[in-house]
Symmetry: C2
Subunit: 267 residues, 2 copies
């Protein structure tokens, strides 16, 4: 079984196990704070357990880095890391806003840039995005690309929830120049729809994202031809510690990237 | 035939006539600027024509105020006004982002507060919201209410696209205090999901919204128990001129309203 098939099967099981829960009172049950620092909701716990049970069942030799469970060693001889946010967009899921996903990535080493396989599954409708390093990004098995049209609309994803005054000031030129700002509330799925060409630029400068939020979407966005840089303008990379906090700028093509870099005054 | 049934039938016809268009190259065809000032897309034109043809077919005596067509007198003895944004969220529709709607309202007089009936139809999935003045707000025929739980999550909808520096500064305390900011890109549907309890507060201070964007969602939000005020803190009202530009704050309950008014330093 290939690694990508393991991730696909795991996310499919999550889809089947949580679809009756979204938008229900039950889904929001409070299970205390997870490793990542957020409140764990019942839907998060059910989803993580689904992935962990499956990996144990097939005896997949790995170390799991999970949003709620933290670091779990499933083997003494791990082949690599599974980076898991079994429900990204838990608030949406609990409310019943149809934008949340399962985000799973596999890395051979302790770095974002070591990710070789990833899956983001839209849990509101079962659409599956995946990417394999060097092989491209796909939606339901069909190749996808970040927006290559330079003069079409200009749709900008921005997460500003709880942002600092300084970062808000840095974003101001983008905010005032953009006619179509969007924020749907699940970064892995926002990177996936970016990879599909629905959004042209996605910016999150809050230094709040965890590796588990970003890992799977990162490879999908890159394999779809997108650019992803950090706040200093360098290609985004990070170790896989769940204490790491990430900011990034994703742009669908070089023209959009240059424009955003100029507006944000980085480099 | 009751007025609400006319609006429901018209929006159902729009749904059937545009569902094959969303996300296609064809849908984005440029038809110049509409009465509201935005570029009219093919999908906008098809949808407006659907509503106008239907109103003519049933000889509905009214004056239509449309996003693209402007003011159209369908009768010398109009019973009132149909305020139409046949596609709200055209950019999403053209891109294939599943968040756009048909927004239709009926007013007996030339004021927002004279609206007696309204329909917002989610064109991505056919869900129909409607409201009748004094009778409540409904989703697919079932009564809906704005969020009455005071201590649950706190999901804030904000439209900041192209906002001025001053308004951005006014919003800063809300932005930095909110963990869950959302913007989906179709104000009528955002008011409808607010009315359903999925979003707690929705704020748009850009002075850019037209009456056609707001009319139908306005009655649905109010009939669901929500509060809607203008920038000066007064109950929102306006004439129905398509030159009017609107800002508003919607809050699901009195506690949320008081909190937002305090943070925005209005009143």
């Amino acid at each position: 079984m290939r690694v990508i098939e393991v991730l696909q099967e795991a996310s499919l099981r999550v889809y089947n196990n949580v679809k009756h829960l979204a938008g229900t009172e039950e889904s929001g049950g409070d299970f205390g704070r997870g490793a990542g620092g957020d409140i764990s909701r019942k839907i998060d716990i059910v989803a993580e357990k689904t992935v962990l049970d499956y990996l144990k069942e097939i005896k997949f030799d790995c170390t799991v880095l999970g949003e709620e469970c933290g670091r779990v060693e499933l083997s003494k001889n791990p082949k690599g890391f599974i980076i898991m946010d079994a429900i990204d967009g838990s608030t949406n899921a609990v409310r019943g806003i149809p934008f949340f996903c399962c985000s799973l990535a596999f890395a051979t080493d302790n770095k974002l840039s070591s990710i070789t396989d990833s899956v983001v599954m839209d849990l509101s409708n079962g659409e599956m995005y995946h990417a394999i390093k060097g092989k491209g990004a796909f939606l339901n098995g069909k190749r996808i690309h970040a927006n290559e049209k330079k003069h079409f609309y200009f749709v900008v994803g921005l997460d500003m929830s709880g942002i600092s005054q300084d970062s808000l000031q840095q974003l101001a030129p983008i905010i005032s120049a953009s006619n179509h700002i969007r924020h749907f509330g699940a970064v892995a799925l926002e990177l996936a729809i970016f990879a599909r060409g629905l959004v042209d630029v996605f910016v999150d400068l809050r230094d709040k994202l965890r590796i588990t939020d970003v890992a799977a979407g990162y490879l999908i966005a890159l394999e779809a031809g997108g650019y992803i840089i950090d706040k200093s303008g360098k290609f985004l990379d990070s170790d896989l510690s769940y204490k790491s906090r990430i900011s990034f700028i994703a742009a669908a093509n070089k023209e959009f990237l240059d424009d955003i870099v100029k507006k944000l005054k980085i480099r």
